[in-house]
Amino acid sequence: MNKILLEFAEMPFVVKTHDDEIVAWLAEHFSGEQAEDGAGTEIEIAPDSRLTLVDNYQYLGQPPEASINDGILILEHPCYKGTFSLAEGKGKVWFSGREFLVSYLRTVVTVIIVNCGGLALHSSCILRNGKTYIFTGYSGAGKSTVIKLTEDPVIYSDEVTLLKKNDKGLFSIHHSPFRSEFHSDYLPPTADIAGIFFLRQDSRVFLEKMPPKEAIFAILPMVFFPINKTQLFENKIFSLCADLLKQVPVFKLHFRKDDTFWESIDTVLGKEV
């Protein structure tokens, strides 16, 4: 059995598989390395899993059905089936198509990160002049567009931003390997978060500061989590969002499809300092 070590937001995972092709792909796609037992959360890949997607294209983008029973996260999808024991920190997955291995890992990470004092936020995140900017909104709001409109963007995420508290309780942004369009080499964690921006496409470019009490209602639906109404996690996600909003200002960013939104951001944030 091959064991490969992956890290997501400094959370180690050991993926076990007999398949050399999967090992090679994980090493390349997630910068994985050879691992020892007990080095992290264990994920075992079922032997008949395969990287190639065969005749299942209609299922790409379809989320899994998810539930938690007796502390076990269960994910069911036409192209993958996975479980993850929250108590033991061990999971198993069968998949047909590499996209679905990624989907399983991403879903497990969105759950585990909450237990580690973090959040997976539906957003893109750009590093610019030493600070990170989180752009969020529902699908079609422009999370990818702002990346395209930015000159030489350093991209921490284009779909799932991984935020996690450090040992001082401050949120840091971690490199997200869960990308939809813009891939990048590994980026180290960064704690300097300039703001969270809810995108509104408009003919004018301006920012509106959102009061934190309003922002919490806006940000809660942006947190990736596979299941609704799981009491323990709802409590944690709510508290983590409240903590995040104490540290990071939130704005509505009205923007049009050019790069002038950066001038507005610089002007408003410059005044805030």
């Binding site: 009061p211 009490k213 919490i216 209602f217 609704n228 109404k229 009491q231 709510f238 409240a242």
Partner: protein
């Protein structure tokens, strides 16, 4: 609603104070409710059991409002909290 009963928070609710005002999460329902300044003051008091009369005295002192007006608003507010299972009566 009787003036004699003591009201206190339903202990299953999660409260965070954001910008000086209370935001309450009902974990059973997955719903979030934000209170205004006066509501947040009352919610803070309800951390321990209070009668409606006690609450009214403290609101009038804190916000310098007339007792009659405050009583009607408090009655309405407590009814909302009860309808959402945010408070229990002792």
């Amino acid at each position: 609603m009787t003036d004699l009963a003591d009201f206190c928070r339903n202990s299953t609710m999660i409260t965070r104070v954001i910008d000086g005002e209370a935001v309450i999460m009902d974990p059973q329902q997955g719903k979030v409710l934000a209170l205004n300044e006066v509501g947040s003051f009352i919610w803070e008091l309800l951390d321990s059991p209070h009668s409606q009369g006690d609450l009214l005295d403290k609101i009038c002192r804190e916000f310098n409002v007339g007792r009659e007006e405050a009583a009607a608003d408090l009655e309405e507010f407590l009814a909302v909290l009860k309808s959402k299972d945010l408070v229990v009566t002792a």
